[in-house]
């Protein structure tokens, strides 16, 4: 009897010995629902914590995709200073949340973020941060990044990075098809000369050839396990460049010689990451690459911004953690925004690609994700989530005025996604 009591006491002692570490292990919860004061900077806090080797758990679908971080004073301080709402939890409160998130009957899960992703942004040398939504978001969230361009990519430097963002580049070598409107503008002419010179320096006769080489290198980077994120025209122009690798789709105003009249027939869709069966726009004066973009940019679509919304799909957090991570948001219906490539025509998306968001009841797909080799790619249509119809020369968006932008959150989901520890899927 005494022996049995001793055994029970022993078990209790062992349990109690472990208990303080649970109770004392306070946590900081950064809620990402409507209570968050600055959703965008919250991602910056998670990133900052990772740079300090502080454990971060991403609680998928829990209060808008909240972050659970070790309850250190430094974290609380940084949240306060950056204006990010947080809640201090006792060990038991945190445990309760973990239990709720992990319960089989809830569509939630906890994903451990392991390390701060090394980020590269593919931009030309004369790039300004305000011209690109992703760099705007990173600057605002205080997430550091490096800039790379053709030379760095071709030299294989992408291997140094976990995540690559493509600025709204034109991989077809048609300089954004701005010729009709800006063909005589000094910036356009200088840009074309600069690109041509760089192409020659790198041993290519044409800009379209160097862009294709870069596109292929990026594809190799993805195949080797890289994460690529592209917005606006970088999405469709990337796939078009890959598809057109055996032909010439550039008119003489872009590369000095005529386009191949049979270019359309020579497209090789098997080279594309996301799209297939599209028809390229061969008119060099039309501000559009292909019929992937919907609504087409030329003529400029007339649409009422107050009725333009897209809907994020919901995925199973436990069975499909990747699309779940990419769609974490505090709202599921998000206001639309245009770009040179606004959205993707559903019928032209490869069946292997996951649709993450669409404009309900239409052919317009806003946000897609797919795998290639050991890596992934994500395409997000539109130019700036908080500037409905961004134009060349438009003033930069001040994200201090859009701290809770659901559209910008999507970009930042992508930045943190490579930090997630890969765990075996349940299916």
């Amino acid at each position: 009897m005494i022996r049995r009591c001793c055994a029970v006491v022993g078990v209790i002692m062992i349990l109690l010995a472990g208990l303080p570490s649970i109770l004392e292990a306070q946590k900081i919860l950064i809620p990402m629902d409507l209570k968050q004061t600055d959703h965008l900077k919250a991602y910056g806090i998670a990133y900052w914590a990772l740079t300090k080797d502080i454990v971060v758990d991403w609680l998928l679908n829990y209060r808008g995709g909240s972050f659970m971080i070790d309850g250190l004073d430094a974290v609380a301080n940084e949240c306060m200073i950056r204006g990010v709402s947080y809640e201090q939890l006792s060990g038991s409160e945190a445990a309760q949340i973990y239990a709720e998130v992990g319960a089989e009957n809830t569509n939630m899960d906890a994903v451990r973020l392991e390390k701060a992703p090394r980020i590269a942004v593919y931009v030309p040398p004369n790039f300004l941060p305000w011209d690109d939504a992703v760099t705007l978001a990173m600057e605002y969230a205080e997430i550091p990044y490096d800039k790379v361009w053709d030379q760095e990519v071709l030299e294989g430097k992408l291997a140094q990075y976990d995540w690559l963002h493509l600025h709204h580049e034109d991989f077809t070598g048609q300089y954004g098809k701005f010729y009709a409107t800006f063909g005589n503008a000094q910036w356009y002419v200088e840009q074309q000369v600069l690109y041509e010179r760089k192409a020659k320096e790198l041993g290519f006769k044409k800009v379209s050839q160097v862009k294709l080489a870069v596109a292929k290198k990026i594809k190799e980077y993805i195949a080797a396990g890289g994460f690529m994120f592209a917005m606006c025209s970088a999405t469709d122009s990337y796939d078009i460049a890959l598809a057109a690798q055996n032909t010439d789709i550039c008119a003489s105003i872009y590369d000095g010689d005529p386009a191949d009249p049979d270019a359309q027939k020579k497209l090789d869709y098997s080279q594309c990451l996301a799209f297939q069966n599209f028809t390229i726009e061969m008119n060099p004066l039309r501000y559009e690459y292909s019929d992937i973009d919907i609504p087409p940019s030329d003529p400029a679509p007339i649409r009422d911004p107050s009725t333009d919304y897209f809907t994020l799909f919901e995925f199973s957090a436990k069975y499909d953690p990747v699309p779940t991570m990419l769609t974490q948001d505090h709202v599921s219906i998000i206001k639309g925004f245009m770009g040179q490539t606004t959205a993707f025509k559903k019928s032209l998306i490869k069946p292997t690609v996951t649709i993450l968001a669409e404009r309900e009841g239409t052919e317009e797909v806003k946000y897609i994700h797919g795998n290639y080799g050991r890596g992934t790619f994500t395409f997000y249509g539109g130019h700036d989530p908080e500037d409905y119809q961004h134009q060349v020369g438009s003033p930069p968006t001040d994200l201090k005025l859009h701290k809770n932008s659901p559209g910008y959150r999507i970009i930042l989901n992508n930045i943190l996604f490579p930090a997630a520890k890969k765990k075996q899927q349940k299916t």
Partner: protein, 633 residues
């Protein structure tokens, strides 16, 4: 017989020939029409992009008419469309055999070689084109144009330069070269060419500035352009168009001091009698380069006493002397007062600084008495007397004169009247102030923002005079107009009076008096008045406000430790006060700007963030913390 035979034989030949001629005559137009139709069909194939079908027809047509240039050119273009450069070259070579001196054919052939990746052969062909007529500028133009079309800009530049040598015309193709240099980022060369162009046509200063301006937005473009223009100006110091471009490029680079020297030189050399300098001075003033602006205005005044716009120049001069880039205190944490001045002697220093400005304004008033510049000068004098010299009597006198003398400039007159009321408040002439404000505010619809400001002042005046009901009526009226700039201030004071009136009227009376003393900058008297509230009405809801005001006055007096004690007392003794976030912000400011203690400033801002995350001061507190810890934000 013979004759007959002879006669008969031609007749025998004549008739078939006649028939043949008749048939041919009938068939030839038909055939020509048929060929035309086929040519048009081929062209329509071209338009639809079916080049193969078009080529077939062109080839067929050429069998009948092998030298037809129109068909040959059409066929050649189709070959180019299909990148069949060898076939296109065969046509061109054939055409060149027939017309070896055709420069454009040589250029076309060179383009084909280039497109076919034979740059060396292309260059040889372009050389052959030049050799056709090496003394003619037009030859070089055609060749350089062909190279430019193939985006060989550097080669095109070389050809234009060769043209200059070959034709012994050093200024040939300046526009073309300048453009090519600018798009290839050779900004020094581009600038040289544009200046050369200006030398050829001195009336094109504006055009040249626009062209150079296309690359001066890049730092390297600006530096290169400045270097070249400076060098050119040195070697031709009497060249006015170049000097104008030099002054312009200095202003582009914000080097107003250098631009001033150049503008002065232009003015002298052009006998502009001050007009060049005056224009420069206005731009410098507009661009906030006040010292240079003042010097330039002064020059005009000194050297051209009969200048036609002298009133404007003198007013500009006075403005330049007075103006400074004072930072605005957007938080208005300490109301109308600005603490944390550098030292106690700053007022004296300011007074000596502004003496010249006052003098300049007085000159305008004296010399151009009936002008709007004089009215504005009179207003500025009064403002300086009030704000910089603290000579309220003089300021009052100036404003009275202004209101009387410049009624025909209503905006200036109203601004003067409002300020006159303010000075009356400072002097304790509350009745006079009331009259000024009342007259200005009017009774009907207020259309000028100055009228709203006057009405707010009237409400404040009623508050200072302890006429709280009257104050509430005025303030309530103002607060209802959400479009008014003064609505927030009106609502704030209205709410304060309403809350304090409930059971605290005696304390409110003392508080209003203390506020008046503070407005009148009688800080020590105000301090005593606020302290008396704490002593006499210790349970009043105004005690926390009084404690805050005491802290503010200590801050304004530079007595920072006492200010901190006061704010901290507020924190400890009145934990329910709604002003605690403001107190923490002020503690931070006193540590940061008064005592220069960054660590304690950060601690105070952090406490504010912790305890009052929804305060209106949080973003400013965050910004201050990040500045103090040296974050790159």
């Amino acid at each position: 017989m013979y004759d007959g035979m002879v006669l008969r034989h031609p007749a025998r030949l004549f008739y078939p020939a006649l028939i043949l001629f008749a048939v041919t005559s009938l068939l030839y137009p038909q055939q020509r029409e048929n060929n035309d139709l086929r040519f048009r069909l081929a062209q329509s194939y071209d338009r639809s992009g079916d080049f193969q079908a078009a080529i077939k027809i062109y080839k067929d047509l050429l069998t009948k008419d092998p030298l037809n240039t129109v068909i040959l050119n059409a066929l050649r273009q189709d070959y180019v469309q299909l990148k069949m450069y060898d076939s296109a070259m065969v046509i061109l070579q054939g055409q060149l055999k027939r017309n070896p001196a055709d420069v454009s054919l040589h250029c076309e052939l060179a383009s084909m070689y280039y497109l076919n990746s034979s740059e060396t052969k292309a260059v040889e062909e372009w050389d052959r084109a030049i050799a056709v007529s090496p003394k003619q500028a037009v030859t070089y133009q055609a060749v350089a144009g062909s190279m430019t079309q193939n985006r060989l800009f550097d080669r095109a530049i070389d050809v234009y330069l060769r043209a200059r040598k070959a034709t012994s015309t050093p200024k040939l193709f300046t526009g073309e070269l300048a453009y090519l240099y600018s798009i290839t980022s050779k900004y020094e060369d581009a600038t040289r060419e544009y200046l050369s162009f200006l030398g050829q046509d001195p009336l094109q200063t504006g055009y040249v500035q626009t062209q150079i301006g296309s690359y001066t937005s890049h730092p390297e473009g600006l530096a290169a352009a400045t270097r070249v223009i400076e060098d050119t100006a040195k070697s031709s110091s009497n060249n006015l168009p170049v000097l104008r471009v030099l002054a312009w490029v200095y202003m582009e680079g914000k080097h107003y001091d250098r631009a001033y020297d150049v503008s002065k030189a232009i003015d002298e050399k052009a006998n502009a009698a001050g007009h060049e300098l005056a224009s420069f001075a206005q731009r410098a003033l507009h661009d906030k380069s006040f010292t240079v602006a003042a010097t330039a205005f002064r020059d005009v005044m000194d050297h051209y006493p009969k200048f036609d716009r002298l009133a404007e120049v003198k007013f500009g001069y006075a403005q330049s002397l007075e103006a400074s880039d004072e930072e605005q205190d957007t938080l208005r944490l300490f109301g109308r007062d600005h603490p944390f001045t550098d030292d106690q002697h700053s007022h004296e220093r300011e007074a000596s600084m502004y003496a010249a400005a006052v003098n300049a304004y007085e000159q305008v008033v004296k010399e151009f008495p009936a002008t709007e510049n004089a009215a504005r000068s009179a207003l500025r004098i009064a403002i300086l007397e009030q704000e910089k010299y603290f000579d309220l009597a003089a300021a009052r006198q100036s404003l009275e004169q202004l209101v009387r003398a410049y009624a025909k400039f209503p905006q200036v007159m109203m601004e003067g009247a409002l300020r006159l009321g303010d000075i009356d408040v400072l002097l304790g002439r509350l009745d006079d102030a009331g009259t000024e404000y009342r007259t200005l505010a009017g009774k009907g619809l207020r259309i000028n923002p100055i009228q709203d400001r006057a009405a707010l002042r009237l409400g404040e005046l009623q508050y200072f005079r302890e006429n709280f009901d009257s104050a509430l009526t005025i303030l309530g009226d103002l607060g209802r107009n959400a479009n008014s700039d003064v609505a927030n201030d009106a609502i704030g004071l209205q709410a304060f009076i309403q809350e304090s009136l409930q059971g605290d009227k005696p304390a409110l009376k003392v508080y209003a008096h203390a506020d008046l003393l503070r407005r009148q900058k009688k800080f020590l008297d105000a301090l005593s008045a606020y302290q008396s509230i704490i002593q006499s009405f210790p349970k009043s809801s105004l005690v926390d406000e009084a404690t805050m005001s005491i802290g503010d006055i200590y801050t304004l007096l530079g007595r920072y430790p006492e200010a901190l004690t006061s704010y901290q007392r507020l924190m400890t003794d009145y934990p329910e006060s709604i002003t605690l976030d403001q107190a923490l912000m002020k503690i931070g400011e006193v540590y940061q700007n008064g005592l220069k203690d960054s660590a304690k400033a950060i601690a105070s801002y952090q406490t504010l963030l912790e305890k009052f995350p929804l305060s209106i001061y949080v973003s400013e507190a965050r910004k201050s913390i990040r500045e103090l810890r040296g974050d790159a934000i």
